[in-house]
Amino acid sequence: MRRRLLTLRGALILIVALTVVAVMSIQAQVTFDRILRADREPSNWLTYSGNVLGQRYSLLNQITPGNVKNLELQWIWQSPSLEKYETTSIVVDGILYTVQAPTTTPTADGNTQIVALDAATGRPFWRFTYPIPMTARACCGRVNRGVAILGDTLYMGTLNSHLIAVNAKNGTLLWDTTVIVPPTNATYPITVAPLVVKDKIIIGTAGGDGAIRGFLAAFDAKTGKEVWRFYTIPGPDEPGNDSWSGESWKTGGAGIWTTGSYDAETNLTFWGTGNPNPTGNGPSRLGDNLYSDSVVALDADTGKLKWHYQFTPHDEMDYDSTQVPVLADVEFRGQMRKGLLLANRNGLMYLLDRTTGEFLQGKPYVNVNWMSGFDAKGRPQRVAGRERSSAETAVMPTILGATNWYSPSFSPKTGLFYVSAWENSKSGGGGQRGGANTTPMGGIALAPNTKTDEEGFGVVRALDPRTLDKKWEFKMNDITWAGVLSTAGDVVFSGGREGYFFALDARSGALLWKIPLGGQVNSGPMSYSVNGRQYISVAAGTALFSFALRQ
């Protein structure tokens, strides 16, 4: 009898223990509901932009304008790669997942790696290596901007056009899908961090400076099987194909290389598209070249196009629109509108209605001279002669743009939109970069800067989405490739090519704190917390840094 009681007692203990384990396991699963309601768990950073709205805003408020001066370095993780560190890490329940871009020279540690680190100490748990052919690269580096997570699985695109799924617990490969087999005359590198929507992994490919036909595709999260594909250039039987002359649509570019956003209410996912190809040869592709340099709104279940807005019709200036579409409700002319905010590479800040795609307003946020205004439908009115093929004309912004892929930020608390930008940067005739000092694509090492303000400089600007007017700015001497993070503590974090990482007052732009990190800041900062302590993380040079308040 006593023995039977002991057995029953043991069984009960076992059942309770198994239940606890099961509950913990369920909690550890990153469901799409958790991703959708990331605001409920600000300790985590579950997606590239922090939430599916693309806001790069943290609800953590431990770090404030009053105490940010007490930030101190907690840990550094040094990547063995010598490529630009453009990844935004994600953090799930104290584990940080980041990506080492494949290096440019073959070394033992030089391949793409997903790395799991302890978010409080930077100590590595595991790393998953994915070999990339040395020939695989995007136009401007062998970069990777990060992973996505759903359940216990990490998802990453690769430079050789694969989408892979990796077990987040132990770093083992679950599946490997070929997104596209590139033709001999083009490459389709994937640099973008995927976006998870429900049970699908959405991803696009770069390569739009070459002869690709860009697309966005959704894959089943469990199997890796493609569910839908949306070509960013319409086919012969689709509306918009006649915006390309001849056969130019087949190789018209319009790649995807920055993560999109998602609106659960309308089930629309929004993505910015890249430049038409060939960039500087407009006559070879007459017409507006849809849907290059656009934002497209797609049904997340089917990939069907709901609406589009083209920022730069028939672009010759490489004005990719691959900026993060930021979703926020904005008061416009006395009414709250479901807004989509996008600070474009072409130098203009836009407010669209994200439900219908209606153009609400647009305004330069840097010096712009290629257009003079908009028509009633929001089409830009070009200034004659301000184009790449005009030999004697300096065009602003430059072919490298007013901003680029690096993320802006929107703070629902301050109601301000923050963007890193290049000012006064201009391209001379023939599309050459103007100014006596060139402004190259991002690098890793600090480089001397002797530019004058007339030749271009970097700036973090705060814009009021209601008017698109500038509220404040923080000026740098050199240009910037760094994204922006805003927090509920009313602090804005960013950096630049000078290698400083700094904190600004979200309401005034006043400099609150800075630290030189010894390498260019090419990524967007993010924030998370572990055991109640807020961390700010950013990559610079080839390393990842994490800061917290001094204890």
């Binding site: 103007g434 800067n449 002797t450 740098m476 050199d478 400083y500």
Partner: protein, 220 residues
Amino acid sequence: MWRLRVPAIILATGLAISPSLYAQTAPDIALPAGDATRGKAIFEGTKGNCRSCHRVAGVGSLFGPDLSAIGSPPRGGGGGRGGAAPAPAGAVAPAPAATPAPVPPVPGGRGAQAAQGANPATGPTPQQFAQSILDPNAVVTPQNRYVVLKMKDGKTISGKLLSVDTFAYQIFDSSEKLANISKENIREATMTSPMPSYRDKLTTQELADVISYLTSLKGQ
């Protein structure tokens, strides 16, 4: 005889300067044939006092661009910092000029950079040399800019601009020291060459002589 009008020049950075811009800055004078030996004497003597700021073959100041190979095509397409060639190994820097001018002349402080790399195949043209000497502020490459920093304590610091960031200037100052100058201590900063114009200091013949000498400098 050189007519100081050219259709275009290419700077060390590869930046194309339009004919109209050159026409605004280039002196419209004719030059006789020059004598490099006489030019060398002017360069090294008190009249030019060029070595108080420039170095040739290991002799002279490091403050201005090294002109040891200024007559050669630019290396690597131009754009190199400082002079066209490094000082020879083992070269000993000379003592400062015995009779320094009140404002140290820096031939080429701006103009010499325009001369550097002006012609990728043959080196600078005589016209570009002349412009550099007569109007050193007319054209300058970013790699050879100079700053004058007026400090809040009343001092003035000048130097070659190595880099400027949001918070500080990094310069090679007139005493040949590397210095990081915090912007917090600066009242006013101007990017201007300390090199004076030689328009009223050299005759046309002397100018031609100096240009002949500079053209002869091919480095090692």
